[in-house]
């Protein structure tokens, strides 16, 4: 009998190769399990490339991430890598920040040239975060080879003022999983900050949240990955339901195929993450962030194939 390798996607209005979509899911799930990022930066453009309309690609991807991050969170929870207290505080901040960010972007769009500002800011930020992470982790990897590494979280020189300030803040509390003592205000405020940025940039925020947790909250890299996944789970539940309800852009068949691959990938990813050192994860993530930046920059610099583009949210 003829094996049907293709499925018709009712919402996307297109048909896809099952094996192709499964392997895409597997790859992105793997990345999310290792680095604690949603993977939307990779998945959405790849889906558009195989003929899925952009709005459907983004919405169905967030549905898929719900599955992948559930799977990843469980795997990391078993390894003791999820700081629920920290995660919930960041999440609350993130929701507030997201709401504020959506309003900011409305104002920016009215002022005109918003897309330009957003893209440039995003490229610069990815470039800065990526190179800082790369240099810092290479340095501390060199150090740890010479001396016995005590703490996974590095304390770069010249940041003592920041440390002093952090210690002076009120509502100090222990985050046992992360092994840090901080003011409750810290994750809340930083959550708001990342939420605003994520809403403006139109991305999940994993790329910004992970470095914030590592460098500003001084959490160990492994706990950062688990906690980040825990937060992404809730953000994507929200996005999926909103997209399905208001825009009808979630293609369930596509999401199901993707999540079959990504939930498996996330489990293997968590295992790989466990085997890697915190510094190694940081180096790979930094390279990934820089690659995304280069790709965005090329998209801005190279002349386009077609001089027209669909407007978002048609």
């Amino acid at each position: 009998m003829h094996v049907p390798w293709y499925l018709y996607l009712p919402i996307a209005g297109s048909s896809v190769n099952i094996l192709l979509v499964l392997s895409l899911g597997l790859l992105v799930g793997l990345l999310s399990g290792i680095f604690g990022v949603g993977g939307g930066f990779l998945m959405t453009p790849l889906l558009i490339m195989i003929g899925i309309p952009p709005t459907v690609a983004a919405a169905s991807d967030s549905n898929q991430i719900v599955g992948a991050s559930t799977s990843g969170t469980i795997a990391h929870f078993r390894l003791g890598n999820v700081d629920f207290k920290m995660g919930i505080l960041l999440l609350i901040g993130g929701v507030i920040g997201g709401t504020v960010g959506v309003q900011i972007i409305k104002i920016l769009r009215q002022l005109g040239n918003a897309d330009f500002l957003i893209k440039i800011t995003y490229v610069l930020m990815l470039g800065f975060i990526g190179s800082y992470m790369l240099m810092e982790s290479i340095q501390s990897l060199k150090k740890s080879k010479k001396a016995v590494d005590i703490s996974e979280a590095p304390v770069p020189a010249g940041e003592s003022k920041y440390a002093m300030l952090v210690k002076k803040l009120p509502f100090q509390t222990d985050f046992t999983r992360s092994g840090v003592r901080l003011s409750i205000l810290m994750p809340l405020v930083l959550g708001v900050f990342v939420g605003i940025l994520a809403a403006i940039m139109g991305v999940g925020g994993g790329f910004i949240m992970v470095p914030v947790m590592v460098y500003l909250l001084r959490m160990p890299m492994h706990v950062v990955v688990g906690t980040s996944l825990f937060q992404i789970l809730f953000t994507c539940i929200d996005v999926t339901i909103m997209q399905a309800y208001t825009n009808h852009t979630v293609d369930f068949v596509l999401a199901l195929l993707l999540l079959l691959g990504s939930t498996v990938g996330a489990q293997f990813g968590a295992r790989i993450s466990k085997k890697l050192k915190g510094e190694q994860i940081k180096i790979f993530l930094a390279i990934l962030v820089l690659l995304v930046m280069v790709k965005m920059l090329l998209g801005l610099l190279l002349p386009p194939k077609v001089f027209l583009a669909y407007t978002g949210g048609h």
Binding site: Q64, V66, A75, L259, T263, Q267, P304, L308, Y310
Partner: protein, 264 residues
């Protein structure tokens, strides 16, 4: 005398009308079209299909077959350079009357004489993709209208929704009065449900001699139909279900892998 003349003239005119109508009638009888299938079923395993169009046209005629979708309004952004360096999406334009699908198959060349002005070109050219320029309106009126339409056609071609294939209709000469033709429309896999038409034109020396339009419907059936209905008519339930299935999938994978690890 005058009455007689008037009568004769009237008889001649009536006869003339009858004769001309008879003539037209003969011409119509000269063209037949058969379409197989006339309904496209978009089921779970749909991945594009082939429509076979056969029929007869008057002898010496060329054939053009067009598979056309409904006309829609599209909102597109034009890309341009900012600071002379960076490519960004800039002005938004409203494109009106853009057919969502336009597949053209012909037994002859449509782009006849490109040296002529567009207004002076023959009717065959008016069936080509290039001639869509006459049908599509852009708001606000851009300076580079022709360029934008060309880009729109290019974009739709890349999506596989526009096509112009010359020499793809086979015509076999017949008995001196009629000739038979056969065309295959490759319906793309990215097809949205809705109404489409197949237009068949018989051309002689670049002029349209006869036309026949047949409606074709693409409809969702089976599981895709069920999901589509759920997504559009019970959106909240659909969103909640999609999320819950995803969480259940993640949990299941967690349990499976967790159990595997426990056995170690």
């Amino acid at each position: 005398m005058r009455w007689k003349t008037l009568c004769i003239i009237s008889v001649l005119v009536v006869a003339g009308i009858l004769f001309v109508q008879e003539g037209i009638g003969l011409c119509e009888a000269g063209m037949t079209v058969r379409i197989e299938p006339s309904t496209l079923l978009l089921g779970t395993f749909y991945r594009g299909t082939d429509i076979k169009i056969t029929g007869t046209v008057p002898d010496g005629c060329d054939v053009v077959v067009r598979f056309m979708g409904i006309e829609k309004e599209l909102h597109l952004k034009k890309k341009g350079k900012v600071l002379g360096l960076l490519w960004m999406n800039l002005d938004t334009f409203k494109f009106k009357g853009v057919p969502n699908v336009c597949l053209i198959y012909s037994s002859t060349r449509l782009a006849s004489d490109t040296s002529k002005a567009k207004e002076a070109r023959d009717e065959a050219w008016k069936l080509s993709l290039e001639a869509l320029e006459n049908r599509i309106g852009i708001e606000p009126e851009p300076k580079d209208r022709s360029f934008l339409i060309k880009e729109l056609i290019k974009m739709k071609k890349l999506e596989g929704l526009y096509l112009e294939s010359e020499g793809s209709v086979t015509v076999v000469s017949g008995d001196g009065e009629q000739r038979t033709f056969e065309a295959h429309v490759n319906v793309p896999s990215s097809l949205t449900p809705g109404k489409y038409v197949i237009e068949v034109y018989a051309l002689r020396d670049g002029r349209i001699v006869e036309t026949k339009t047949t409606p074709v419907e693409a409809k969702l059936v089976g599981f895709p139909a069920f999901l589509y209905n759920l997504a559009f008519n019970h959106a909240l339930l659909y969103g909640l279900l999609a999320t819950m299935v995803a969480i259940a999938g993640g949990l299941l994978m967690g349990v499976i892998f967790g159990a595997g690890k426990g056995a170690h």
